[in-house]
């Protein structure tokens, strides 16, 4: 009996050790998942779809109830933003650089180059991370649809993240706030053409810096992708939430609040990874 207990303890310790090892090795996403994982995803996907459809119906019932306070806060913010935008509109109409500003706005509203629009793949969100830490989710498209690891994922609001791991007809997506990899970004303003780098930071925000130490940026400035790295140019990332100018540093640190509500996503668009994208002329 004592020997059996001893044996069980050894088994448990070995199992825990193996799990720690596997966790460390698979953290960061893999280029290819195993056949078993692929098959499991394939089998469960139709059931997930049925569940997500039902939960969509439930959302339409519960959401207005749980979002009363949140909606009021959003309405107040939108009203303030609306006032600021009206003022900005008047100023813009008087601006001599009207054309270049409109070009910049065009980029913001269109998000990405027209050539990329033809390559976008529509996907349905079929599962979400059950916990409260990661903002990872599953989609119903995979390798067979032209999606690869590192394919860029967006929605109508802006940049969501990249494909983390991919099966034949399903994939896991990691949000930009969970990902430590850097995103090349720039400020949306033709007069203040500052570029920098941001990455998944602290407590659901993005943290980064501008290359120009004398950059004139303000809280509320819109940030878009600069086109350097994995992400194509012109996708909205978020708004500057905080600026930290340290005289000892040669860079301007910024905190960015993502524009996308990661908790409320039902459909997304996927852009093939940089290696599989058609060249933009």
């Amino acid at each position: 009996m004592k020997q059996k207990n001893q044996f069980q303890k050894i088994i448990v310790i070995i199992t825990i050790f193996i799990l720690i090892l596997v966790t460390g090795l698979t953290f960061g996403g893999r280029e290819n998942i195993t056949k078993f994982e692929n098959l499991l995803g394939k089998v469960i996907m139709p059931v997930q779809k049925a569940f997500i459809f039902t939960s969509g119906l439930a959302e339409s019932i519960f959401d207005p109830i749980f979002s009363i306070w949140e909606n009021q806060r959003i309405i107040d913010e939108v009203e303030k933003e609306n006032q600021a935008l009206r003022k900005q509109l008047v100023e813009m109409s008087l601006d001599t650089n009207e054309y270049s500003e409109l070009k910049s706005l065009q980029k913001v509203f269109d998000f990405i180059d027209y050539d990329f629009n033809d390559q976008l793949i529509d996907a349905m969100v079929i599962s979400k991370d059950p916990g409260n830490w990661f903002n990872m989710f599953g989609i119903d498209r995979g390798l067979e649809d032209g999606i690869n690891k590192n394919s860029v994922v967006i929605n109508g609001e802006g940049l969501i993240g990249i494909v983390y791991e991919v099966g034949d007809d399903w994939a896991k997506v990691i949000s930009i706030i969970d990902n430590k990899s850097s995103i090349g970004m720039k400020i949306v303003n033709p007069d203040r053409d500052y570029e920098g780098i941001i990455n998944g930071g602290i407590d659901g925000d993005l943290k980064g810096y501008l290359f120009d130490p004398k950059a004139e940026v303000f809280v509320g400035d819109l940030i878009i992708t600069s086109g350097k790295g994995l992400y194509p140019e012109g996708i909205i990332i978020g708004k500057i939430k905080d600026i930290c100018k340290d005289s000892d540093k040669l860079l301007t640190d910024i905190m960015v609040e993502p524009i996308v509500n990661f908790k409320k996503m039902n459909r997304v668009l996927v852009l093939p990874s940089i290696n599989n994208r058609k060249e933009v002329e």
Binding site: V12, T15, I16, I18, L19, I20, L21, V22, T23, G24, T26, F27, G28, G29, I33, E37, L40, G41, I44, V47, Q48, F51, I52, T54, S55, G56, A58, E59, F62, D63, F66, I126, S127, K128, D129, P130, G131, N132, W133, F134, M136, F137, G138, Y164, K172, I174, I177, D178, N179, K180, G200, G201, I202, D203, G204, K263
Partner: protein
């Protein structure tokens, strides 16, 4: 029969957790029905059902929606093993045992999770943020356990909880 019923119910709960529950976040936080199921299984069943559930749930979670393979299995498995090791000191027909079980399991889950994230140099989270999320989820999980444990216990054991 009860084991098969438990397995089907568990798969249903898992799917509900990754789909339906996500749509009804309160203050941005969701309860962890998977953890509740594991704690209940450990307390109610006499065999190692809780450990099997921890492995099944952990594997499904890791494959379908997790950042690393093994992270969820590891945490759920340790929780199930720890609960089994203290099970003899807990009276499973007392509701308080179940409430204490889920309360400490939730806190342990978040401590373990954040410790692994620190070791793997994952994105940083402030202590305040960790406490906020842990506290809210612990409250949700304990409340759900308070409501469902008595019902499930009676259904499986056939007599009322104390």
């Amino acid at each position: 029969m009860k084991k098969r019923y438990l397995l089907i119910l568990s798969l249903f709960v898992f799917l509900v957790q990754i789909t339906f529950v996500q749509q009804i976040r309160i203050v941005g936080i969701v309860p962890n029905l998977i953890l509740i199921m594991i704690v209940m299984s450990v307390l109610i069943f006499d065999d190692k059902e809780g450990i099997y559930l921890a492995i099944i749930f952990g594997l499904l979670q890791d494959i379908l929606v997790s950042k690393a393979l093994g992270i969820s299995i590891l945490i759920y498995l340790i929780i199930a093993i720890l609960l089994y090791s203290v099970k003899d000191f807990l009276l499973n027909d007392y509701k308080l045992s179940a409430l204490l079980g889920i309360f400490f399991s939730t806190i342990f889950y978040h401590l373990m999770f954040n410790l692994i994230c620190i070791l793997l140099r994952d994105t940083t989270r402030t202590i305040q943020f960790i406490i906020e999320i842990t506290l809210l989820e612990t409250i949700y999980n304990t409340l759900i356990m308070f409501v469902v444990y008595g019902f499930v216990f009676k259904h499986i054991k056939g007599y009322e909880i104390r």
